[in-house]
């Protein structure tokens, strides 16, 4: 029944990450972890999946001397998110 929904986005943590990134220019790994309440390991795995799909870019850098990981959504990611929301809306309409 969820055939039209992008399986990459139809998972709690990945959808949460993409939703945060769609509303911001960029977000730090620490911020994403705080907002999603996920463990660092799980979040890393899901971020890597989104990166491999080309939905986000991951920039590893330093803030002062502290290493930081910053994520940004790509155009492909925005497109996938829009399609996902549309599919979700269609599904709800059909259900009604």
């Amino acid at each position: 029944m969820y055939n039209d929904l992008d399986p990459l986005l139809h998972s709690q943590l990945r959808l949460a990450v993409i939703s945060i990134l769609i509303g911001s220019e960029e977000a730090d790994f620490v911020y994403l972890r705080k907002q999603t309440n996920a463990s660092a390991g799980n979040l890393s795995v899901q971020i890597e999946k989104l990166r491999e799909a080309g939905y986000i870019t991951v920039i590893k850098d330093f803030k002062g001397r502290v290493p930081c990981t910053t994520c940004r959504i790509t155009l492909k990611g925005v497109d996938a998110f829009e399609k996902y929301v549309k599919a979700l809306q269609n599904y709800i309409l059909i259900k009604k």
Binding site: S11, Q12, A16, G23, S24, E25, K34, Y91
Partner: protein, 222 residues
């Protein structure tokens, strides 16, 4: 671990997450407003006092005190670096507002360069005209403060509206009113003194008050 969602949970999650990165002013911005606010406030008041107490034929030299504004830049740089290190999320509004303030700084620098440049280059062509300000032509310098206040108003108003922070909007409007007031009073006998006091009041409402409120808010949110 992957948790599957039903359609309702998906929509709720999207709504919840999208609203996380709210368009609040970045933490630490209060200090930047206070830094420039206090600097402009202090320098304009000292300039006013010097204009009043110094003999008239030399008191135009008191304007050189504005060189002290340069002291703000190293502190500003340190504060901005601190904000960038502590910042975990950057919203689109943050990105645009950063550019607005960069454009504001460029505009201010251009006004200063333009005024000094035209005074030095154009003045020799007008020898014999008004010489109250020594090598500086009075007309360009009397319009400099209103010009700056227009730019203050512009940047403060946009920031206030973008972040939905009313003290900045009010500060911006006060700077615009102050600018208009100074343009209208450009021929007043005590114009130089009026300009400095107006500038101090504008920096109080445009920068110091919003900066203090912002700092208080930052403390409450920690």
């Amino acid at each position: 671990m992957e948790t599957q969602l039903n359609e309702k949970e998906s929509l709720n999650l999207i709504n919840e997450m999208i609203s996380t990165a709210r368009n609040n002013l970045q933490k630490g911005m209060g200090n930047i407003f206070l830094l420039w606010g206090y600097l402009v406030f202090a320098i304009s008041l000292v300039n006013f006092i010097l204009l009043v107490v110094l003999p008239q034929h030399v008191n135009h030299n008191s304007y050189f005190i504005w060189i002290l504004m340069g002291l703000g830049y190293p502190v500003h740089y340190r504060l901005v670096t601190k904000i960038q290190i502590e910042k975990l999320v950057k919203t689109y509004v943050d990105k645009i507002m950063d550019q607005v303030w960069i454009a504001f700084s460029i505009s201010i620098i251009l006004v200063v360069i333009g005024m000094i440049g035209s005074s030095l280059l154009v003045m020799p062509a007008f020898t014999g005209v008004e010489k109250d300000f020594g090598f500086l032509h009075w007309f360009q310098w009397t319009l400099m403060t209103p010009f700056m206040l227009l730019l203050y108003g512009f940047a403060l108003f946009i920031s206030g509206k973008a972040y939905d922070f009313k003290p900045l909007v009010r500060g911006g409007i006060i700077c615009w009113v102050a600018s208009l007031f100074l343009i209208l009073s450009v021929h007043h006998r005590y114009m130089p003194e009026i300009q400095q006091v107006t500038l101090a009041i504008a920096s109080l409402f445009g920068f110091i008050i919003p900066g203090s409120i912002l700092k208080k808010k930052e403390k409450e949110n920690v």
